[in-house]
Structures are given as C-alpha cells and as structure tokens.
C-alpha cells in the first residue's frame, strides 16, 4: 500500500518501538510529533476547538491501545489520518443540524492563525465547514494534508471516483460562495 510520505519531523524508529513496549515518554514523543496533524484535521473538519481537542485526545488514546498493530512510521501516519477522519465525520454528523442552523452567525473559534489574508482565510474555513461532513473531510485531507485522491480514498474507504467527484463539486461550491462573500477580486480561480 502506498502511504503518504513520513513527515520530516517524525521521531526516530526506535521511538515507536519503545512506545510499543510501554515507554510512556516515547509515546509522549509520538503524540508531540503528530499532534498538529491530528488536532489540525479535527479542527478543520469540526471548526470547534474543544471538540477538536476531545477528538484528538481520543484518537491518541486509541492509538495507545492499538500500538501493537502499527507496523511502521508511515503506517502510523496513515492510521492517524484514517481514525481522525472517521471520528471527526461521526462527530460532525451528530452536530450537523446545529451547524446548519447557526453557522453563519458562528464566531471564528478561538485560534491564533496567521493567514495571508485573514478575511479570506476566515471566510474559506466557514464555507468549508458548511459542506456536508464527508466532502468536507475530503477537502481538508486534500488541502491540509496534500493527499492525492487515491490516498484520500484509502483513508476514507471511498472509491477514488467518489473522492474526485466530491472534490470537483466542493470546489465549485466553495468558489461560487466565496465569490459571493468576498467579491471577485479576492478569490482567484
């Protein structure tokens, strides 16, 4: 299985092995190295810092219980993307009604971002959060994690053509809505 490249900051292989043997410090190292990936993914899908923190913690607790099945660093990254995505989709589905009814009024979650253009960034995140959970996760995996459609398909257990279709339609919707929200000058096709 072709997995995504291991991040440059990945811990040395010994860390995974030590964590598998019950070394809490080594497991803490694994968490620190991967927390941006997991928390970032959950936050971009859920757009709620508290929920994203809860999902991210649960994912790492599940990882601790599943360390015996993790075969490599690349497998670890794939496993984290996969479990985080599915958990975030489940949570998003449960709170979808609330999102749809109050999204436009929802404030930007308490996060410090350094966007190239804060208004564009905030608007795009709000529009992405308004997509249905699965297309939303496809978009997040594509643009946060830079995954190709085939990799997204493996993470989400979804046919590649479905991933491509979600991407195509989501981008069209996002472009149109961003154009309406920001005006043509800020959004470039």
């Amino acid at each position: 299985m072709a997995l995504a490249a291991v991040p440059a900051t990945s811990p040395p292989p010994a860390t995974l092995e030590r964590a598998r043997r019950g070394d809490a410090d080594a497991f803490g190292g694994l968490v620190r190295e991967r927390q941006r990936l997991v928390f970032g993914l959950a936050l971009n899908v859920l757009r709620d810092r508290a929920l994203a923190e809860e999902v991210a913690q649960e994912v790492f607790l599940q990882l601790h219980r599943s360390l015996g099945s993790i075969e490599s660093e690349a497998h670890l990254t794939h496993w984290l993307r996969r479990v985080t995505s599915h958990r975030a989709i489940d949570v998003a589905r449960h709170r979808r009604h609330a999102e749809l009814s109050g999204l436009d009024e929802a404030p930007e979650p308490w996060v410090v971002r350094r966007d190239a253009d804060p208004l564009v960034g905030r608007t795009l995140r709000r529009l992405v959060a308004a997509l249905p959970p699965r297309p939303r996760t496809v978009v997040v995996l594509r643009f946060q994690e830079d995954l190709e459609p085939a990799e997204i398909a493996r993470v989400l257990d979804m046919p590649v053509n479905t991933v491509k279709s979600h991407l195509r339609r989501a981008l069209a919707v996002l472009r149109a809505r961003a154009g309406q929200a920001l005006g043509g000058a800020e959004v470039t096709s």
Binding site: L41, Q57, S66, A116
Partner: protein, 131 residues
C-alpha cells in the same frame, strides 16, 4: 494567489498548544500498557478474552455459557417440582391409609355395640346379647 492555494493557506493545520501531550498521557490509565506488552498470568482477569480469540468466538462462548447455565437452572427447577409432587402424593396416601384404619375401627366399634344390650329394669347394667 490561486483559489487552491488560498484554501491550502486557510486550512493549514494548527497545533493544539502546549501540554497537549501531557493531557493525553494523563488520561492513560496508570497501569495501561500497549497491547504488545506480555501480560502476567496473574494479571489476566478470569473473564478476559484470551489473546488471539476473535470477538465473535468470545461472544459465541459467552452465549453458550449463558444457555448452559439457563438449561441447568430449568433442570434443577423441574427436579425440585417433581420431588415436591412425590412428597405430596406420599402425604395423600398416608392420609388415605389413616382414614381407612379409622373407618375400620369405627366399623368394629359399631359391631361390638350391637352385641351389647341394656338389662331391663337396670339401666346401668349391660347384658351381652346371646347370638
């Protein structure tokens, strides 16, 4: 900036902040070990699923044990009722025997009374009737 790059910039992953890993580690149970650790024989709970046994097999075993226990309880209850019924029949038989004996005694008393006559003129003296 292209739209895709704007999206990429907007969706850059954020760090959860300091002490996230510590919060995760704090939620690990103090004695929790990853499932690769070799369990001590004494540490394995009696009802724990043995390593390598699938969840389906474990569920099947649990269902079989429940069925066997239920069948055993039903068998014991049936036996208890049968014993109760036997005891009841014994009591009824004993009562019938007692009743028969009492009837026999009553019959003999009646017969004996028939053989005795009151002596005329002396109500207090009885005279045995000559058959």
């Amino acid at each position: 900036m292209r739209f895709e790059d704007q999206l990429r910039d907007a969706l850059r992953p954020l760090d959860p902040g300091p002490r996230f890993a510590e919060r995760v580690l704090a939620r690990l149970e103090p004695t929790a070990k990853p499932d690769t650790a070799e369990p001590s024989a004494l540490a394995v709970p009696v009802l724990a699923r043995p390593r390598g046994m699938s969840r389906l097999v474990a569920l099947g075993l649990a269902a079989s044990m429940t069925l066997a226990t239920s069948a055993g309880l039903v068998f014991l209850e049936t036996q208890r009722r049968a014993e109760g019924e036997r005891a009841r029949q014994q009591v009824i038989t004993a009562l019938r025997l007692t009743s028969g004996e009492l009837n026999e005694i009553g019959r003999r008393l009646t017969a004996a009374a028939a053989r005795v006559e009151t002596v005329p003129g002396d109500p207090g003296r009885l005279e045995e009737r000559v058959p």
